[in-house]
């Protein structure tokens, strides 16, 4: 499937923004550069704002017909969130995913972009500034790990395993308090739970076949559209907790991603007891 946007060109834009605005600020932030947005653990940094500004200017020059949506743009104009899901063409960007890690000097953060056309995600890109490579997918064309020297490697999800052998990641911080305790308790049934506080790296790890489940509750599109498409193109089964497909206009309803439908059903029954 071809889109009106050259995915590689968009991928390069993410890399340029990381090199110009994100990496130079990593581990150099003074405490004054990090300010609380809604609470102490929801940080926004200069890197976020400057990288989004750069990507927006360049994207509007290259693809003037596309609506540009970033976390910072939405903070300024919430109506963008309603508009992009039905737009003919939109680019959704998360300039620094994993801002808490970034601000703490932990090298688990990423830059993500997705392309949405008429209510459907058609391309997803996750750039890792530390490793200087991308995982990306165009709908129908598989998921790929690409390096700037042109090397490309096709990604494939892990083989399914039994519940007590599953290793994966779940974000429980946005669940209601009573459900949070219950689901954390249920997670004792799997072999291993990790959580890197960075969707970019979690999706990357899943698409590379290293883990067996991803679970999220809060679904802001810049955090999840790119990663979900990449995982699906790597062979994953992805659905909201009620079994319905996750679409660009969804911001709630949870998201569970597994290597296959059977693993999804087991986790939905045994762990995601919402």
């Amino acid at each position: 499937m071809t889109t009106a946007i050259d995915t590689m060109k968009l991928a390069d834009l993410l890399r340029q923004a990381a090199k110009a605005e994100i990496l130079p600020r990593f581990r150099r932030l003074g405490s004054s550069d990090v300010r609380a947005k809604t609470e102490a653990t929801d940080l926004v940094t200069e890197a976020d704002e400057q990288a989004e500004r750069m990507m927006k200017a360049e994207a509007q020059r290259l693809w003037p017909e596309a609506l540009f949506v970033g976390e910072e743009s939405v903070a300024a104009d919430a109506s963008l969130l309603d508009e992009f899901a039905s737009a003919d063409l939109a680019i959704i960007v998360d300039p620094v995913d994993g801002t808490f890690n970034f601000a703490s000097g932990i090298p688990a953060f990423g830059v993500m972009a997705s392309v949405v056309s008429k209510g459907e995600t058609v391309a997803g890109i996750i750039y890792d500034p530390m490793g200087d490579d991308w995982v990306m997918a165009e709908k129908g064309s598989g998921a790929w790990l690409r390096r700037p020297d042109g090397e490309a490697q096709r990604l494939r999800v892990a083989e399914p395993v039994a519940l007590d052998q599953m290793v994966g990641m779940a974000s429980t911080g946005y669940l209601p308090q009573d459900k949070r305790a219950e689901i954390l308790g249920n997670l004792a049934k799997v072999r291993f739970l990790t959580n890197y506080r960075c969707a970019a790296h979690e999706y990357r790890t899943f698409a590379g076949g290293h883990v067996h489940y991803l679970m999220y509750n809060k679904l802001m599109p810049w955090d999840h559209l790119a990663g979900t498409l990449i995982c699906q193109e790597a062979g994953a089964y992805a659905a909201r907790f009620d079994g319905s497909a996750y679409l660009p206009h969804h911001v709630s309803g949870g998201l569970l991603i597994t290597p296959d439908k059977e693993s999804w059903d087991i986790l939905r029954r045994e762990v995601v007891t919402v």
Binding site: P107, M130, Q177, A188, T205
Partner: protein, 276 residues
Amino acid sequence: MNFSDNDIEFLGDCLRHVAEEEIMPRFRNAAAANVSEKTSSIDLVTQADLRSEAYLTAAIRERFPAALIVGEEAYEADRSVVPALADADLAFVIDPVDGTFNFAAGLPVFGTILAVTVKGETVAGLIHDPALGDTVVSLKGAGAFQHKRNCEPVRLKVAEPIELGRMVGAMSFSHMDEPDRSRIAGNMAKTRMTFAFNCSAYEYWMVSSGKLHFIGHPKLMPWDHLAGVLTHQEAGGHTAKFDGTPYRPGEISGGIISAPDKESWQMIRNEIVGYR
């Protein structure tokens, strides 16, 4: 036995050497990493582990021929090396790649850990970050410092104590057995945020620099904990086993919690670990 600045510098050089020669060239390089499973899919060993431990063991042995040198591979070959830490005159405890799962998955969250013990007491700890090149160095009684290339060392300090509902913490319940496993997992909902980096090197650095409030582990293999516990203590924190007693070289069971102070330690012990 006194440990000189030259000795610490020597150990730091050794850690940087293995990072550059043995670890980073194999990172995100599947063919060279040559991953194999030890006991399960999350207990992995790579060529980076094996070759780094071999290099560090040889380099330390040359400088300190009489010292006991303990690493995971040495322990596989001879399990008596761990209890011997309780009274060895001089010992070095090595974790060449702590966070092997992350390393193998391509996530740059792993570290090299080195502890020095003298007659059953940890006197020095080094935690090196191969991907970024920083080293946290702690010396008994002299504080914990983060050393960055071309920068003045920064003294580490734990977080200010706050109420449990505002704390960010990590408790590795995935390594626990029932009934602790699901009880402690559920209790983590009492905190503001929980996460798991699956890497002691990072967790101890974070808890010692106030980037998170507490960490806890059920398994006490010395290469995962000795250097980190000294670092946390030197950064002003309180670390003890679940029964309240200090954690000492040679011990491998009992569970451990690191918290900003004794009062928060007791709160986490009661509210998170709960009945035992």
